[in-house]
Symmetry: C2
Subunit: 358 residues, 2 copies
Amino acid sequence: SKTHKIAVIAGDGIGQEVMPEGLRAVEAASKKFGIDIEFTHFDWAHCNYYAQHGQMMPDDWFEQLKGFDAIFFGAVGWPATVPDHVSLWGSLLKFRRDFDLYVNLRPVRLMPGVPCPLANRKPGDIDFYVVRENTEGEYSSIGGRMYEGTERETVIQESVFSRKGTDRILKFAFDLAQSRPKKHLTSATKSNGIAITMPYWDERVEAMGAKYPDVRRDKYHIDILTAHFVLNPDRFDVVVASNLFGDILSDLGPACAGTIGIAPSANINPTRELPSLFEPVHGSAPDIFGKNIANPVAMIWSGAMMLDFLGNGEGKYRQAHDAMLAAIEEVLVNGPTTPDLGGKSNTTEVGKAVAAAI
Amino acid sequence: SKTHKIAVIAGDGIGQEVMPEGLRAVEAASKKFGIDIEFTHFDWAHCNYYAQHGQMMPDDWFEQLKGFDAIFFGAVGWPATVPDHVSLWGSLLKFRRDFDLYVNLRPVRLMPGVPCPLANRKPGDIDFYVVRENTEGEYSSIGGRMYEGTERETVIQESVFSRKGTDRILKFAFDLAQSRPKKHLTSATKSNGIAITMPYWDERVEAMGAKYPDVRRDKYHIDILTAHFVLNPDRFDVVVASNLFGDILSDLGPACAGTIGIAPSANINPTRELPSLFEPVHGSAPDIFGKNIANPVAMIWSGAMMLDFLGNGEGKYRQAHDAMLAAIEEVLVNGPTTPDLGGKSNTTEVGKAVAAAI
Ligand SMILES: CC(C)[C@H](C(=O)O)[C@@H](O)C(=O)O
Ligand SMILES: CC(C)[C@H](C(=O)O)[C@@H](O)C(=O)O
C-alpha cells in the first residue's frame, strides 16, 4: 500500500504547540486503520527564519515541497518582529497561489460539549461548509501608492476575478451542495455596493446554477449574510464566497459555533498535481503562546480532513477521519478541555486524550 | 428661531411604510420641544421612477436637494425590476459621494425589551458606534471587464484609499472616542491579507492615534473582529472601519443586538455645506413589503439622530433626541411591537405608540 508523504510545517506561535498534537492524532488514526504516512519536518516558514534570512522560506521552497502528497501546516505570523503582510505573503499565501490551492474548505459545526454563544442553539442547528475562493479576488498583488508621503497620497489595490477562477470554485461548491442531503447553496455577494466585480460573481453563480437544477440556491449581500449567521445559522448548508468574504465568514461561522479554536480547514488543489495544505483556521495567537494552553482540536480536525483527502473520502481513510471526529467529540463532551472552552487542561493533555480516544 | 428644511425621500418597498412613522415621531418631538421643521417630499429615487424615466432621479437632483438642511431617507432597491447596483449607485451612493457624506455613523445598542440572539447578554453589554468611511475605499467606480464573454474573461475593480479620505474619517472616529467615557477606539483592518491598502490604513490609524494619547486603541483583522462581535461585544466602544468593513460590521452589530429592524444611521458631511442624510440601516425588504409589518423603529431612531445633528447635539435638539429614544425604549419594553420582535402589531400601530410616548 502507498506511503503518503506529508510535509510538516509548524510555523509560528501556537502553531508550534498544536502541531505535536495534530501529529499524535494523525499517527494514532493511521496506525489503527493501516494507513502509511511519512512525515518530513521543515524548519522554515516562520518569523525566526525571517529574522535570520530576510525571507520566510528558502529560494527552492517550491522544489522542496512540490512532490509531497500534502502539507500539514500550523500557523504563521509574529507581528512584533515581522509585519503580518510580509510573513503571510511570504509563506501561507504563496502556497495558496503557487500550488493553486483554489479551494479553501471550512466546515462550521456546533459540536456537542462546546458552549454556544448563541442563545438556544444545540448541535445539529449549525452544520454547514464555507467554500472560499483561495487564489484571487480581493487578495491581489496589484496596486500601489502615489504621491507618497504627501497630502495627496493615494493607495490603490485591485480585486481580480477571472472567469476560470470564479467558475472553478463555484463548480466545487455546487458539486459539494449536490452531494449533501439539503442540496442548498448560498452565495455571498455585495453586488449592490461593489458594483463591478460582484455583479460578475452573481452572473457566474447563475450560469453555474443552471447546470445544477436540483440544487436550491440563494444569495445574500455579505452585510446581511453576517447578520443571518447570528440570527439564522440553521439556514445554511454550503456557502460559497470570494476570498475576502470567505475569510470573514469562516471566522464568524466558527465563532457562532462556539470558538475558532476548533475550526479546521483544507486548502485544496483538486487536480492533485501539487500538494494540498491542511491548517487550523486560527492563527499563531502571540497573546497565548508559550503557555501550552492553545486548543489543539482545530489542528487535529485539520489532520482528519487531510487523511480523508488522501484517500479521496473512501474506505479506511474515511474511517480514520470519522474515528478522529468521534474522538474529538468524545473529548469535547467529557474533557479534558483547554481554557478557551472553560477547561483547565493544557494542549498536550487534550491532544493525548484525543489520541487515546482514537 | 430657524426653520429647518428637510427633504423627505421614502424610496422603495418598506421605505414607503416606515417613512410615515418616522415623520410622525419627528413631528411629535419637534412640536414638543419647539423646533421648527418643514418637510418637502420628493417622489423620485425609487425604482418606479426608474421604470418611467430610465434613471433613478431627475438630472437636476443635486440642485433640488443641495439647499436642504438634511435628507430623511427611507430605503432604495427593487431587484425584481432594477438591478441593485443600478438603483443604489443611481441614488443613495450618489448622495453619499456627491454630498461628500464621508461619515456613516451607526450606533449599535442592545435595547431593553429586545430579545438578544446572544446567550446571557443584557442591555448595557452592547453599546458602541461603528464609524464607517462612506465615500471611497472598496466602493469604487473604477474597473471593468476584459475578454468579455470568453473563457479568458477578467473583471477588475480598484479599491482607492486617499490620505484625505482616510484621515478625515479617522479624525471623526478619534474625536468621538475621546468624547466618550471609555475613550477606546478599535480599528478594523485586514493588513495581513489585503496587503496594499490595508497596511496603509494601519499606518494612518497609528499616525492619527499619536495625536490622541488619551484614547486607547487596538486593531483586529476583519475576520476575527466579526468573531469578537459575537463572542465579546462588550469589548467595543468606537469601531472605525473602511467602507466595506463598516458596511459589514454595521449589519452584524445590530444583529448581535437583536435585529437590524431598529438600527439607525447618519450619513454626515461634517462641514454642513451640503445636506446630511439620515436613514435606517435596513433596506427596502421586498419580501415583507405591502403587509405593513416592517419595524419603524430604525426610521424613527434615524429621525432622532437627525434632530440631534440639526442642533449640533445641544439644548432642545438633544432633548428632542433623548425623548425620542426614551419613547422607543418604552415601546420596545411595553409594546406594541412588530412581528420581527415577536409582536403582533403593525408598522402604523408601533409608530403611533412611539409618537404618543414622546
Ligand atoms: C444598499 C447598499 C448599497 C448599502 C451599502 O452597502 O452601503 C447598505 O447596505 C448600507 O449599509 O447602507
Ligand atoms: C492569516 C491570513 C492572511 C489568512 C487569510 O486572510 O487568508 C487567515 O485569516 C485565514 O483565514 O487563513
